[in-house]
Symmetry: C2
Subunit: 437 residues, 2 copies
């Protein structure tokens, strides 16, 4: 099989691949999130990675985005998915007659963006999405449930977070009351930039847009409003007073009531009118999740309420609310900042080293330990005894058992604790007891 | 968001998508396999779905296969992977200096074949692969370990299987001893067809190839040899006698010794010289796994020993042995034959129906049950009480609790067992006890 010319073994630029010792941690995180989704009665969906181009491009009116991985196969144009929402819309629209609503699905899967490779951006990345889809209407319990999901997920992962919640229509109502509705979208886009550009630059931008000095100050003070619902309730009630605004405020209060009913810890969520979320398909509640110890980190995920999931695909009105965790990005960020759980060099718990021709006996012992829940491994390669002991040390394997003629004949084994250096002579049943501790 | 013209919501032909109630089962199967792989000290790897075309086409000398999903992005030619072995070879070759050998990795992932859509063939499908890679040499313990993995996986999944094992060099040795080595590959290809074409057609094909009548009979009787090692040992020892053959027979015996040491149940594996596995990169032990109750099903997976994993990418010799389960195909086959575990219409265990304006109270109850491990759901949509009861019935939810004014005031709830029709009035703690049983 050796070739005269070797091909350099490289992966595509911008694609992510963890070494196994980190992949173990990554998968444990996936499993924890999955467990939380399932405990909250979400069901799994696993849509194909490839979709018809027509479906994925429905939003943009069929226009091809150069960041898509798109190609043709025979007469068929297809794309790799860039998110999990469009495939969900396609699935729900085509199965609307058989699904039970509210339909609660989760999906943990890879998405693709064909952008130029750059630091901290991946062209293949995991998203963990949970959405609740109603038929015609959907209770605000669903919005609270998505916020609760964040708290449960991060509590399971072992991180303290702060979920920041708003309702986009508070700002639209305020804009209406200040008679700036013609410039509503531009104002929203600017306000969304506060964190990036700062107050002074924001104010200048608003004035450049033609907003009055007084109104600019009102918008800036509105997006600065944050705190528990009780803390901000009065402030908010004074900001504006029209149908759009009052409806949004009432919705926010209802969400707060459900969050209280769910027993959400008030240390882990707050209201923040500056949470906007660029996507204009959000039409009500919006939220983002931040790491409490690192408020300077970008949001670890976000979501919100949308009026209609699948308007491109069906006339049936399907309102929904969803949350998403950008798991690849989160993992990479946490890894850079030393925030991941301890990475073990090996998952092996017991290394059984044959001394002489006793591999079969070791295999039999290994099988006994594995069947009893211990990750045991036989050092069956033909390295020297010394290099196997070094390997156990280098791989941080906590226990080693050396098996030679005496051990095979007597049925008692020396079990060495590699951390303490302690060594005990035990039967295999006794070894199991010690390993179980 | 409503468009004047709707786009029909369809997925790509030949792509697979399970309804959530089946997806739950599919994921449980994945989790069980993953658990077995990990218990046997395999570590996870999650390579990108896309690879450089140059890497994936290394085997075919760079020639493009029309069954690949391949495309270019800027100057870069890329393909979606068609198996998990080439990405493994690429990974091991480029990380050979930091990996510990034997390197035991598993990967459960989607693969892609751009063939014409047809029944029972998928263009996107899951493979569950486990491979053990050595550096320069690799003990035959690894071959036995892969067979043991099949037994453990299917035992965990709850199916009785028969793993059929051979060593490809038995046939090559026999061919050598009968002086047919010039036609060795053609003979092997024909013998691999026995199950499809039957004995008579096989014999005619061999004779057409120019093999003598006597030799043809010998080959046909060789591939019919099957049974436990003890049953076939004598028969095999008489078939041929040269270096290739004797070495293969010794290897098979060593594998048998390790299988015995691993405690493999002899009802679940046998030797069958007719197991050949077309791929010519297998160079020693080969095996396939069959469902015991349905021996007529195609193999559910297979694998074997290869002399060198990554000869295209590195000069370092990396012998390996691997096993694979074709999970999508298996699931589809089992589904068609009613062999899957019982499919539940819903994962909800308790449906809490508010009677009147008591949604918040129900949300609070729901949170209590979920925190205690019960998959509880509030019927929070605005359907009628009657239609919610019907829904509980239709979705086969085992328990229902109706919460109205009396319940909220008294703190005792009527818990209805939907299977027996029995109804008990209980505190929430008592409900939890009943639900836990």
């Amino acid at each position: 099989m050796n070739q005269t010319k070797l091909i350099a073994p490289r992966k595509l630029a911008g694609f992510w691949e963890l070494p196994p010792e980190k992949q173990i941690i990554f998968e444990q995180m996936q499993e924890k999130i999955k467990k939380v989704f399932e405990q909250n009665c979400f069901v799994p969906l696993d849509t194909p990675v490839l979709e018809l181009a027509e479906i994925l491009l429905a939003k943009s009116g069929g226009e091809m985005d150069k960041e898509l991985f798109a190609f043709s196969k025979g007469p068929t144009s297809m794309c790799m998915r860039y998110d999990l929402t469009v495939p969900l819309a396609r699935f729900v629209a085509s199965n609307a007659n058989t699904l039970e609503f509210p339909f609660k699905r989760y999906q943990i899967g890879k998405n693709y963006r064909g952008e130029r490779p750059q630091k901290g951006r991946f062209r293949e990345f995991y998203q963990c999405d949970a959405d609740i889809i109603g038929s015609e209407t959907l209770s605000l319990v669903a919005d609270a449930e998505c916020v609760k999901l964040y708290l449960d997920c991060f509590s399971e992962l072992g991180y303290e977070v702060m979920v920041k919640i708003s309702n986009r229509n508070l700002l639209f109502g305020l804009i209406e009351s200040l008679n700036d509705q013609e410039k509503a979208n531009d104002i929203i886009i600017l306000l969304d930039k506060l964190d990036k550009i700062g107050k002074d630059a924001l104010k200048q931008s608003l004035i450049d847009l033609g907003i009055s000095d007084e109104n600019s100050d009102k918008y800036i003070s509105a997006v600065a409003v944050s705190g528990t619902f009780n803390e901000i309730k009065e402030k908010l009630s004074l900001l504006a007073n029209n149908e759009t605004y009052t409806k949004a405020l009432n919705e926010l209060e209802e969400v707060e009531n459900y969050l209280t009913a769910f027993g959400c810890n008030k240390d882990n969520y707050e209201y923040n009118i500056g949470i906007i979320r660029g996507h204009n398909y959000y039409t009500g509640t919006v939220f983002e999740v931040f790491l409490k110890d690192h408020p300077e980190f970008p949001a670890l995920g976000g979501g919100g309420r949308y009026e209609n999931l699948a308007g491109y695909f069906t006339e049936r009105k399907l309102p929904g609310v969803g949350m998403s965790i950008g798991l690849s990005r989160l993992f990479d960020l946490f890894d850079q900042h030393g925030l991941l759980p301890e990475i073990k060099k090996s998952n092996i718990e017991l290394f059984i080293i044959p001394l002489g021709d006793y591999t079969s006996h070791c295999v039999s012992l290994c099988s006994y330990f594995r069947e009893n829940g211990i990750k045991a491994e036989v050092a069956y390669d033909n390295k020297s005894f010394k290099s196997k002991m070094k390997e156990a040390d280098r791989r941080q394997i906590p226990f080693v058992m050396v098996v030679g003629e005496n051990e095979v004949n007597s049925g008692v084994y020396a079990l060495k604790n590699m951390t303490t250096g302690e060594q005990n002579t035990l039967t295999k049943e006794e070894c199991l007891n010690e390993l179980k501790q």
